[in-house]
């Protein structure tokens, strides 16, 4: 699809030929993830995570479909139906723990995948569309994960739903009606549980659809690579199969070892004990915290503590709560504009000395601080830290990156991928 030297699918047997003439599906697969897709030869292990994210989605869909066969979406029965799965359904404990931890591992691999894109500039031309679709997938994942966490109808499910839908009530005028519309009532109840279950089942397939677009868009320019230098010729690439299928097989083994270790030996490590208490609308947990993968955004939400208004008049234009909500959504939405904020023509962070400093000493620490503080109670030290980190987060993308792109003097780039790999200049073109 992408390069003229890509190997062509040649059906061998009569049946393959017959199929290829009528519905060339094997050809599509061959060109997408087979020998027909030439990939830069210098990809490092960070490039394994796209495939791993796909595997994680498949794990979630397969385990999820089985869970849905035994789950009962009712405010009276949901909690006990999950325990029924854990206790009475054959191997139900495995399916449920795999699904529960599968969500966490899906986010782990996607976060590493996004990190790869951020550091190696994978969002830059000509790959903007891949990035935009990727951010869309990320948003869909967050919605799906949130609604999935509500389904067991434990204390954190209920109060998480209460808090998250409460964000909408911060919107002026239409906020409260909008919240009631989303929940189908004044508080999370049967109507909300039913629609969350319905959407939780639907959205993964929407994600799968957007992933197809994501991969389609990827195949137009082809994969990026750690040097950020574009592919110049056949010597720069290897066919996806068998080279990267083999490498991804190894990566998959390592991923599954971690996944299995947590799922079988510490299945509740990433969860919250309160979600083993049935939902009780009359008893608020001491600390309502979302799942770990939402903590950075939760920290941003809570970091806004002052109203925006006209000083000394008491007129409030944007209350702190609304600002927190706007900032929390903004912190993800700004990623849509990233290809146009970072204008440096150099893709890879390896050759960007200034960018690299802000990336490693600014962005990464501030994200770690936000994740840590997001799970802490609102004591002064955690609030101050998350305010500092959140301020840096916004400054990094919206202020620092555009300036850095303009003033930075990048290091000299290798002439080609092959040269970067072998250390030898390219042979003269034949």
């Amino acid at each position: 699809m992408s390069f003229p030297w890509a190997q062509e699918y040649k059906p061998q047997g009569t049946v393959s030929k017959w199929v290829d003439e009528r519905l060339p599906l094997p050809r599509l697969v061959y060109n997408a993830v087979g020998a027909g897709y030439p990939v830069p030869r210098n990809l490092n292990y960070f490039w394994n995570f796209g495939v791993l994210a796909g595997v994680a989605l498949v794990i979630q869909i397969v385990t999820g479909i089985v869970l849905a066969m035994h789950y009962y979406a009712s405010v009276d029965g949901a909690f006990n139906s999950v325990e029924h799965i854990m206790r009475d359904v054959n191997s139900g404990w495995f399916v449920r723990y795999a699904h529960m931890n599968g969500a966490s591992f899906f986010f782990i691999v996607v976060y590493i995948h996004i990190f790869r894109g951020l550091f190696y500039g994978s969002y830059k031309a000509p790959r903007e569309m891949i990035w935009l679709l990727g951010v869309t997938i990320f948003l869909l994942m967050m919605a799906t994960a949130f609604m999935g966490y509500v389904l067991p109808w434990g204390q954190m499910s209920f109060w998480g739903a209460q808090v998250i839908t409460g964000f909408f009530s911060a919107i002026p005028l239409v906020g409260e009606p909008l919240r009631q519309l989303l929940l189908g009532g004044f508080a999370p109840d049967q109507a909300a549980l039913n629609r969350f279950f319905s959407l939780h089942y639907l959205l993964p397939f929407v994600i799968a659809g957007v992933i197809i677009l994501h991969i389609w868009a990827l195949h137009i320019p082809g994969s990026s690579n750690p040097t950020g230098v574009s592919v110049k010729g056949e010597q720069d690439t290897v066919p996806f199969h068998p080279y990267y299928t083999a490498k991804d097989g190894f990566g998959l083994g390592i991923f599954l070892i971690f996944f299995v270790a947590v799922t079988f030996f510490a299945p509740n490590m990433l969860g919250h004990p309160d979600n083993y208490i049935p939902a009780n609308p009359l008893s608020t947990p001491a600390h309502i915290v979302p799942e770990w993968y939402f903590l950075p955004f939760y920290a941003i939400l809570k970091a806004f503590t002052v109203d925006f208004g006209i000083p000394f008049t008491g007129i409030i234009i944007i209350p702190a709560k609304l600002m927190g909500v706007l900032a929390m959504f903004g912190s993800i939405l700004l990623l849509f504009f990233l290809p146009w904020l970072d204008t440096s023509p150099v893709r890879s962070g390896h050759y960007r000395p200034l960018f690299r400093k802000f990336f490693w000493y600014g962005l990464i620490p501030s994200l770690l601080v936000l994740t840590y503080c997001g799970g802490k109670p609102p004591y002064t030290q955690w609030v101050v830290l998350s305010q500092l980190a959140a301020a840096y987060y916004f400054a990094h993308f919206l202020i620092i990156l555009p300036i850095v792109s303009r003033i930075e003097r990048p290091l000299p780039l290798p002439n080609s991928i092959t040269e970067a790999v072998t250390g030898k200049p390219l042979p003269a073109a034949a």
Binding site: L43, R87, F308, Q387
Partner: protein, 287 residues
């Protein structure tokens, strides 16, 4: 244009956050946070180890049977176990006959109806029944317990930070509040005179807010007579019932761990083979 708008938005958000930071710091200096009594006197769980700890740990059947005895003679007076059926006790090493006898002899009968009149009634439990609550409903439970609701214990070790160690600590954690000092030597009632335990509650520094409605359930050694001759010290009973409740919350733990080792073994072989084929395939390509 995009960059100009982004710059302004960034300036606004970062600016408001830094303003908030200043505000937080000023507030903290003007009105320093008062340490709460919970923050100063709530205790971490006591050290305790169980046979089922760790990736190789298995339940100690003898201990689970002793724990069941403590549960049935002490805890069950107030707490149900409504996710566990009598028949599940077979996993503790009881025969079918023993389970039947256990269910039949259970102190609380299960709700039923009188087959002749249709009036509400109770009948002796059978193995298929869940362990019943001694109270007919929440109102009855609260009425009998000074308005506190004894929680169901089926998932208690998974629903509390610290798990079985929390249950163990709580059971042994009742203290006399008068003169109580923490490890730093601070005396609670001198530091927080207003935090005296209200009437009807019981002081227990392992409970989240230090005052628990439940009176100390384990009051003396030999409160329970163990069938296997183990000396029933308070510590022993607390340990045994914590192990039992861990089993009640996670009855499939042993299946899970053994399946986990099988899966890991398989994956190890798979990964080594995958690594070898990766190296073989790439042998001729510098990358």
């Amino acid at each position: 244009m995009v960059r100009l708008i982004a710059f302004l938005v960034g300036l606004f958000f970062s600016g408001m956050l830094l303003l908030g930071l200043g505000d937080t710091v000023i507030t903290a200096i003007k009105e320093p946070a008062v340490p709460s009594v919970e923050a100063e006197f709530h205790e971490e769980t006591l050290p305790v180890t169980f046979a089922h700890d760790g990736p190789l740990g298995k339940y100690d059947r003898g201990q689970l049977q002793r724990g069941l005895k403590v549960y049935s003679e002490v805890c069950a007076a107030c707490h149900s176990l409504n996710l566990v059926s009598f028949r599940d006790f077979a996993a503790l090493g009881y025969s079918e006959e023993q389970v039947k006898a256990l269910a039949k002899a259970w102190k609380t009968e299960v709700p039923s109806i009188n087959p002749e009149t249709g009036e509400p009634a109770t009948r002796p439990a059978i193995p298929a029944d869940k362990i019943p609550s001694p109270f007919a409903n929440e109102v009855a439970a609260r009425a009998a317990n000074n308005n506190a609701l004894p929680p169901d214990l089926s998932l208690i070790t998974k629903a509390r930070e610290g798990g079985p160690a929390y249950v163990y600590s709580l059971l042994l954690g009742y203290r006399d509040q008068a003169g109580y000092k923490n490890e730093e030597g601070k005396e609670l009632l001198k530091e927080f005179p207003e935090a005296a335990t209200p009437a009807g509650l019981h002081f227990n520094p392992w409970f989240a807010n230090l005052n628990i409605a439940m009176a100390a359930p384990l009051t003396a050694d030999d409160q329970v007579t163990y069938d296997d001759g183990t000396k029933a010290t308070k510590k022993q009973m607390a340990e045994d019932v914590s192990a039992f409740l861990t089993w009640a919350a996670e009855p499939k733990m042993e299946n899970r761990k053994s399946a986990g080792w099988a899966a890991l073994g398989f994956l190890l072989v798979f990964t080594v083979l995958a690594w070898m084929s990766y190296k073989t395939i790439w042998a001729d390509k510098k990358h």
